[in-house]
């Protein structure tokens, strides 16, 4: 009965809500109540973290409105360099063309690493043949030359069934796409085009979960969130010195660098001018101080404690420019090393 009431109530709720406004509730927060709007957009991989941070931050600071959009790292940078967003989520470092675009519009950015991710290669649980895969086989499936030609599993490895190969992967605006193609095909943005592509990883998860002959890739957190519907495929990069044989992405293998080449750092880029606004400063501080816990909660891999401290120092100093020299993705990088060497350089 109560529920029937609730179904009919929308009309009355409608009227009463339209009449009154949104009362500002002040909670116990340190310092004066902040207000303003912060716009975050970009990578769907990093979205899960930013969404969590935004939700928790808004609970602590009720006067601030944070919107978090998706649309891919590339799309996010386009908006960021047009000053349409304050913070850009990115699953790869800023690329040369984006550096140029920002420079053209006089946007200065502060690059802050926030987590590690192990890109997961995923198949349907009913897939009983692909128990592990090599990087060479992934390349065969995904390289540009595969377009229109590699359409069956048997073409990738002898012994695999002659069933159709349905591929699901990130779209071209996605940093995940850039990183995966760089790591597997050797060149960022070089891949076949005839697969189900989406900047929304949820679409990929749904697709693979319902398609027996599917294979796809996305951030580890998306796998963890639906692991009852998916199967993880360990990857063998053929290099014995950083871990022999096929290795699956876990917090350990990503942290100690044995899950290669698909481990990568995740970033947020903050508009330097936005740091003039106290609510942005507070948000970034919240992000980096609670980062470790929230990153763990959404199932990515947190950076070492020290890395977050160094990142906060970068933010405080509003240090612009990229640790990667604006050259975009680099495979097999340890963020802590870059941050530390930057610190020691600054000390010189």
């Amino acid at each position: 009965m109560r529920r029937v009431f609730i179904t009919v109530l929308p009309v009355l709720v409608m009227l009463s809500l339209a009449a009154c406004g949104q009362p500002e509730k002040k909670e116990e927060s340190t310092g004066p109540a902040l207000s303003g709007v912060i716009k975050v957009a970009g990578s769907s991989t990093v979205f899960l973290i930013s969404e969590a941070v935004a939700e928790e931050f808004q609970k602590a600071e009720k006067g601030v409105q944070v919107t978090v959009g998706e649309g891919g790292t590339g799309g996010g940078f386009k908006k960021f360099c047009a000053a349409e967003t304050d913070i850009s989520d990115a699953s790869r470092p800023i690329s040369p063309s984006e550096v140029e675009l920002c420079a053209k519009n006089q946007i200065e950015y502060v690059e802050l690493p926030v987590a590690y991710d192990g890109l997961a290669v995923v198949v349907n649980p009913k897939n009983d043949w692909a128990k592990h895969i090599t990087t060479a086989e992934l390349k065969k499936m995904w390289e540009p030359e595969a377009q229109g030609r590699i359409t069956k599993w048997s073409q990738v490895r002898v012994g695999w069934p002659t069933r159709d190969l349905h591929l699901y992967g990130a779209g071209v605006d996605s940093g995940t796409y850039d990183y995966f193609t760089e790591a597997i095909n050797g060149k960022a943005k070089a891949s076949r085009g005839d697969y189900t592509s989406s900047e929304d990883d949820n679409v990929l998860v749904q697709g693979i979960a319902k398609d027996e002959t599917a294979l796809g890739f996305f951030g580890l957190a998306y796998f963890e969130a639906s692991k009852d519907k998916l199967s993880l495929v360990p990857v063998d990069d053929g290099k014995d010195d950083n871990g022999k044989g096929p290795i699956a992405p876990t917090a350990e293998t990503v942290k100690d660098g044995t899950y290669q080449p698909l481990s990568r750092p995740l970033f947020i880029y903050v508009n330097k001018k936005a740091f003039d606004r106290p609510e942005v400063v507070a948000f970034v501080k919240y992000y980096l101080s609670h980062g470790a816990d929230l990153v763990k909660e959404v199932k990515y891999i947190p950076l070492p404690e020290k890395a977050y401290e160094l990142a906060q120092k970068r933010a405080d100093a509003k240090k612009t420019g990229s640790l990667f020299g604006g050259k975009g993705s680099q495979v097999g990088v340890r963020i802590e090393q870059l941050l530390e060497s930057e610190q020691s350089d600054a000390g010189k």
């Binding site: 996010g76 047009a82 779209g171 071209v172 076949r192 085009g193 005839d194 189900t196 319902k210 398609d211």
Partner: protein
């Protein structure tokens, strides 16, 4: 537009305020012209920009659609195939059922029953398409996966069937109008000659209602071609040039949604592709609507 004598006289002697009102109201009406002009202008503008970078041959002759990837192909055929496949399934579902339903309503149902059933059919048309998309993905496809082995989670069959249910009221309602308006004396003549109701229906009524029914089907097709949410949610995002209803495909409308979800900025080739695809879609539905309009005029003129 009936205008009486008195009104005409008053018309000529109108004060300024009366004229002003007329012009304001005319402007309201003219907004429709402005809207159409706006749509055509916006579509053409971006499409022309698109064709400055992509040739007609690439657009109309290639069978791969990978405009955003390193190996760029701009062949529209995968999207067109996806659209026609889902719409085809929808029409194959909706036309037989819709026609039979229309026949029931006009030939067999008693007035009271008709008054109840007809609005119920209209409800089918009033359900939001996002809800239909939810049905297709969450309930119809899993059910179909038991019947059709190897059916993908995203496929044209589930989406097409649900679309068929959605356009059924259009076909049923317009066909019913057409059948209803077949003059009684035609039917009487047939009965007088000793025909049964069944053969009268098939040999006299349906043929004379043909233009109206044709218009109904064409409008149904037009509606199916332009449908977005059902296919965006349930049919997939893989542009493939195929007519296999069991695999993920992508329709023209779903492509536009896919790119829009990615926040594309002005001026890029990506942005222009959605307008090029939109123009083609607009052209298809526009032509179909005109043909349907003509057919309905013919029906009203002399059935």
């Amino acid at each position: 537009m009936p205008v009486s004598e008195a009104a005409v006289q008053l018309d000529q002697a109108r004060p300024i305020s009366e004229r002003l009102i007329k012009y304001v109201l005319f402007a309201c009406g003219a907004i429709s012209i402005a809207t159409t002009a706006g749509i055509i202008f916006v579509l053409l503008f971006e499409t022309i920009a698109f064709f400055r970078r992509v040739s007609f041959g690439q657009f109309f002759l290639d069978t791969q659609w990978t405009p955003l990837f390193a190996d760029k192909h701009f062949g529209i055929w995968p999207l067109v195939a996806g659209t026609f496949l889902t719409s085809g399934i929808a029409i194959v579902t909706a036309v037989p059922l819709g026609l039979l339903a229309a026949l029931y309503l006009s030939e067999y149902a008693k007035a009271g029953l008709r008054r109840v059933l007809k609005p119920m059919l209209e409800i089918l048309a009033g359900i939001p398409t996002v809800v239909y998309g939810y049905f297709a993905l969450m309930m119809v496809t899993p059910f179909l996966q038991h019947l059709v082995p190897g059916l993908s989670g995203f496929n044209a069959l589930g989406a097409g069937l649900v679309m068929g249910v959605m356009i059924l009221p259009i076909i049923a309602s317009l066909s019913e109008d057409a059948i209803y308006s077949v003059p009684a004396n035609l039917r009487e003549a047939a009965y007088a000659l000793g025909a049964t109701k069944l053969s009268t229906t098939f040999q006299v009524v349906l043929p004379s209602a043909f233009s109206g029914i044709g218009a109904a089907v064409i409008l149904g097709i037009s509606r199916a071609l332009g449908e977005t949410m059902i296919v965006a949610i349930a049919a997939g995002q893989q542009p493939v040039f195929t007519l296999d209803p069991r695999v993920p495909i992508e329709t023209m409308t779903a492509y536009i949604v896919q790119v829009s979800l990615g926040d594309t900025p002005n001026g890029t080739l990506e942005y222009q592709t959605i307008f090029a695809v939109g123009s083609l879609l607009f052209a298809f539905t526009f032509l179909l609507n005109i043909v349907a309009h003509r057919l309905r005029k013919r029906m009203a003129g002399g059935a």
